[in-house]
Amino acid sequence: MIPGLRAGPAQHWGAARLVPLLRDEPIADLRLHRRVYDEDALSIVELHPREAYVSYIPHAFVATWTPDGTPAAAYGTQLCDPREPGLPRVAGLRFRRRMTRREDRHRLRFLPLHLALEGFLDLQFDGPPIAWEEWTRAAVARGLSPRVEEAYRGAEVRGLDDALRVFEIHPGQCGVALYLADALASVFVVPHPDDYRALHPTLLQDSYGELLYLYTQLYPAVPGFAQPLRDAAVHSVADLRAELSRVRAEWAAFHDEVMFTVRAMPSRPVYRLGRFTLSRFLPPFDPAAENHIGESITTPSGEVAYLKTFRLSAAQARRGHLLSRLAAHAWNLDETAAALGTDRQGLVVRLDRAGFGHLLRPDILDECRRTSAAHARA
């Protein structure tokens, strides 16, 4: 479980189950950049002027920062010093009416940097470091560009809008673990309850993997999680109270050990400001397990101030797995195949199926396709 946070009682609606993550002591010196709050609803406590105060802007946050009021999106999650003049780094947004309409109804293609996946897309983006003869010239020269992954926006996920609307935010809640059909979809943690209140609806704008989208179509409702009290143990009001706290502890332990599948992973620091470090992490790309990518802001003591994760779908995890294996063996086909427990032909077929066929020379690819088709016929 995440240090500094504990799980509260879950609330469920349709296929979504939301587990609030509570913080006993909110982090007051890292707050959401005050300009993303509505000017009227400014609720940041003024700290002592000499105290360090850092603000952050989560990814994919769209606000009117620009002087002329045009909308702009945060260019990646950022840490900034609010006393510093100037705007955060933003990417201007242009809305084309037809494009947005189409996106509303159909599957969405998300743009790199639009959401918190650049770390994943960035993986082996440069292509083979050594010009092995099997790879095409384009693969060696330009790498994997353009690299595209697809996901669904939260608004497309069935029932998520209602689940977020009826969710009752706990006092002191600084995060949420969102389960769709009881599969962990996303973990979202912020430093302060006020930030959470402001950002709770943005879960609907986040992207969710294809698998989770399908789960919500297939499993329209998750069952309630009833915890019976042991009445034999109750002889007085104090016993009953003890039962209540036992049940509470049991639920928290069950959630942390069984349901919560994001594990501590080696992360890559991206930026440092004050005592806070912004970093990204990638999973080990094990196709048999759940793979979560994400970004976090941590304090030196290891406390997590901000966290956002995205669960990769199975195909995405497979792609990540192949790329990381290739990287480990400097894109040498035979060595990689040996490491994966297959032969050159098997690896080529796998690369082809994962959508990386265009990186291989066509004659090699055709040969492997032919042989594997012949194998299948035999």
Partner: protein, 467 residues
Amino acid sequence: MELSELTACEDVVMFVNAAVAATGQREFHTEAEEQRLSLRFLHDYVRVNYREIYASTLALDINDLNAATIALHLLRSAQDVHLEQRRLEGRLIAARLARLAPQRVYRLFRALRAEGINNRRTRAIVRDWVAARPDVAFDAVKYRRGLTAAAGHAHLRLPTEVGTVLFDWRRPKRYATPILESWRRAHYEKDALFDLPYTVAEGLASTRRRDLDRAGFLRSIAPRLTELERLRLQRSGGEAVGGALERQPLTRLALYALSLPRPERSRRREELTAALRAAARRAAGRRAGTWGPVVAVLDDSYSSSGSAVKRRRPLAVALAAHYLLEALSPRYRGLWLNHTGDPLLVHPAGATPLGERLLDALEQRPDRVIVVSDGWDNAPPGQAAEVLRVWRQRLDPAGRTSVVHLNPVFDGEAFDVRRLSPFVPSVGVRDAEDIAALVELARFATGAASFAELSEYLRERVEGFLR
């Protein structure tokens, strides 16, 4: 008790709960369409299977929407029952319509016309109701479309000028009836506007008198405002409209208090608290101070903020219940789920840890525990039911403390208000003023009382209602 009787009892209690709490509007969790669908089914089901009981629910404190719907259903299917029952139904409908707000009755008349229901009893009910109105000419101005529909549909004999103003209003040069003459003149003359009811004057002013400024208009129309209009205009009306807090019903007052921002509530604390306490004393009437020790568990979770059409309604019912119980019992304690301190400053936010708070209430071992909540117990889910079960089975098997759950929200999916536990009766509540009567009704909700007892209770209520 036989199974059929038990089912009948449950069905009836379910319907009464729905008839009290359901308004066919959007709630926090369910959409309006879902609510209406569920309500339509309940009306059909109970009317077909328990016709007599269906009619006698008109004598209970059900809400206006359901009263009008029951009247409509009864008149529509009058041919299904024998004469004796038809007569009783006619009297019940007439008695209920006399207590309804006129705009709702006129809406019912319009529905009768739209559905083509025009039997002799219907015409008699319309005729008697219109005849009992204090001033038909006033209705002809204020409820013009409704009265036109009723008069056309039931062939009413109206005073000559009222008939003219409804059906041939372009012809006369002037009317002898003062209000009709004012209405005619108000189309051309500013001063005549202020002799009209507020809603009519506002409509005419907005189309014909665009030069009239709002503050001046309100100042001049202020004496013609009804109590409700005055309350509704408290905030937008400014200086011109004031002093509407006396004589308001308790729940409405609570709704008004909660509509104010919290700084204003704390600034006007004495005034609001005094008004709420006075309203609670009026609602308690002779029962004031007669109840034993009571502890209330009041829901102020986020879901008590209601919906866009029923803003903060569940919370307002809880707040009104707090003041009413304070008046009913000298030894009263109220426990909010999240809020502490002055109840006037309560705010709908946070989760619903009903189980824990219920235990806090039960621990004090009062005579009664009253829970006002929408029943979405979620921190952790279902804990209230478990606490109540263990309490009843292990700690209070004799049932010294009676627990009643009052639910202001109808759950369309369950065709009933959401229940807390099978050990505790759950009853619907619309206005906190009815709590004393509802607590009485609650004993039928657990299945402890027989169908005969329930029928007897309803018969008594009907007799009292028709007297």
